[in-house]
Amino acid sequence: MLTIRKGDLRTIIDHCIAGLPNEACGILAGQDKRVERVYPMRNAKAGPASYEMDAEEQFRVMKDIRQKGLAMIGIFHSHPSGRAYPSGIDVEKAYWPGTELPNYPDVVYVIVSLMDRADPVVKGFWIKDEAVREVPLTVLS
């Protein structure tokens, strides 16, 4: 389970809508599967069906998270016209190239579907052990 405040969820959705028509992405930091901070990130490979975090920004944010005593517990990105479920490329990129070793085994992959922009769908997933498993999201108001 991943717990997130309503305002933080709004931040995620707003960043994803602002990134349209391209995919948008970001990092979730927290503790004990509870999101404490949202980092909207730049999509360095911006396209309607692709994202790649800017490498320098990613490094800077990961360092900031460590310095704050938090952990990277989530990675979010949008599917502008796809459902809220990891694509084949999402799964492939979650593993170290050419292996079955998950890059970030303790991270929940959060996907925001903007198929219906008036009603975005947000879901979380583990991508590891050669499987995709949904992780329930609990939203705190």
């Binding site: 995919e23 992405c25 990092i27 490979k45 396209g47 069906a49 692709s50 994202y51 790649e52 975090m53 490498a55 320098e56 990613q58 490094f59 800077r60 990961m62 360092k63 990675i75 990105h77 599917h79 016209s81 796809g82 990891p86 694509s87 490329i89 999402d90 990129k93 979650a94 593993y95 170290w96 190239p97 292996t99 070793l101 998950p102 890059n103 970030y104 085994p105 303790d106």
Partner: protein, 91 residues
């Protein structure tokens, strides 16, 4: 020269669970060879045809080596090298 190398979780099986290892090298290419000597198998994980793999980011202190001198990026005593998988995907 002593260089500190931060090892990401997926490679820690090769470093006997260690998240940080010490190494001696004058540049990134040498660093990969030095790591391979101590931790066989790591070279193939990090590089392909002598080049650092796409979707694997290496940083010397806070600098992405792609914006310095790639595999020829010079290392000096006390430097810290971080190996970080890129975060990417697409539908």
């Amino acid at each position: 020269m002593a260089i500190k190398v931060r090892i990401p979780t997926p490679l820690q099986k090769l470093t006997n669970g260690k998240a940080e290892v010490d190494c001696s090298a004058r540049n990134i290419a040498e660093l990969v060879e030095a790591l391979e000597k101590d931790y066989p198998g790591i070279k193939e994980r990090l590089s392909e045809g002598g080049k650092i793999r796409r979707f694997i980011n290496l940083y010397v202190n806070d600098e992405d080596i792609r914006f310095v001198n790639k595999e020829e990026t010079v290392l000096k005593d006390g430097d810290s090298v971080s190996i970080v998988p890129a975060i990417a995907g697409g539908c």
